[in-house]
Subunit: 220 residues, 2 copies
């Protein structure tokens, strides 16, 4: 087999010299991610969020989950240009070797993908954990912070999908990986930030209206 | 001269088959842009903003200026993949032939640039004009809208600069164009959105605090 084809990714002419094949199965990779996420969510729900309303608890779980995903998984990707050469079965390298079947731009170090993932890992990740704290403590910046991160996630997804489309949308190994990894997995980071943005936008407008009414009453 | 070198852009091996040289001078291009912008700003300052405080008037001018820049200039770029072949001396094509001296990714149709410019032209442009209206009418969504657009502009600039850096930062014809077009011109869209985000963030937190105090007083 020639070097260009010694990996499972599409396009087939993608050059990945030194590629070491995935050693973990898809189910192992998913089980570890879902297991770790379930642990985080359970911890936040029962410990950090125990005195809060259900929706706030759910939001705290989301922000902890997405923040750690951004920092740990996406952070590793951004700062590990050679993850596809990893031969130690490092879990984080395996994750990105597997995900690259849905979008080979990860293995190929596409600059738009790295830019978006860099902003996500370095800015949005820590900001998401701050959102957990802000909700827990009922901080006045809670809604505006959640809105800012959610809009950032939506902007990132837009750049991510538009650049793939402009470059021919041919980065998935097959349609199973295209729909399950590229569309379905990323879809959550479109749907949930959209819902949160909508809610926070309305909450902020309500506050502004409230203050306006108060000022009008005072000046009468 | 061979085809690859028949344009003034860097890298020299950039292929632009059918490139038609710029026919307008840099000073004409700048004068039209600055003149049109001055017209817009004067119109907004003296007519739309005449009953508002100075800072609100200034912000209305900014949003009108940036909104029209996004929609007209950047909108033209996004939907005109062949602008570098234009032989009619169309002003908008000349603008981008000239700007490409600071960043040849425009002439080269880099997908990250098109994605960011597309989001800017289609979403942020109309939203900026809405911000003019929101400030004029004192709408409750005024601050949150301005924050959302400004954060979008900052995100766009980050993607814009990071992708250029990752690809070798070698897209300017010479250091004059690099610093005047790529750094200085774009710098305004980092500085001003940053200042507006900061102000709107604080205003939104003040409102949230105000409502909180109000609710606390009521429930006593």
């Amino acid at each position: 087999m020639d070097e260009a084809a010694a990996h499972p990714y599409v396009p087939r002419d993608l050059k990945l010299p030194g590629y070491v094949p995935i050693s973990m199965s898809m189910s192992t990779i998913l089980a570890v991610y879902l297991g770790a996420s379930l642990f985080v969510v359970t911890f936040v729900w029962f410990l950090l969020g125990r005195k809060k309303a259900h929706l706030d608890r759910l939001l705290m779980c989301w922000w902890a989950f997405t923040g750690l995903t951004h920092m740990v998984l996406e952070g590793y990707f951004v700062f590990s240009p050679d993850f596809f050469k990893d031969n130690t079965s490092c879990y984080l390298a395996e994750v990105w070797k597997e995900y690259s079947k849905g979008d080979s731009r990860y293995a190929g170090r596409d600059s738009a993908v790295i830019a978006v993932e860099g902003i996500t890992a370095v800015i949005e990740g820590p900001a998401s954990l701050l959102a957990v704290y802000a909700i827990a403590k009922g901080k006045s910046y809670s809604y505006v912070l959640q809105l800012a991160i959610s809009l950032g996630q939506l902007y990132g997804c837009l750049v991510y999908f538009i650049t793939a489309f402009l470059e021919g949308d041919n980065f998935a190994t097959n349609s199973f990986y295209y729909y399950s990894y590229y569309i379905f997995a990323n879809g959550w980071w479109v749907l949930i930030p959209f819902l949160i943005s909508y809610r926070c936008w309305n909450k902020i407008c309500e506050s502004a209206n409230g203050v306006e009414t108060k000022i009008k009453k005072k000046t009468r």
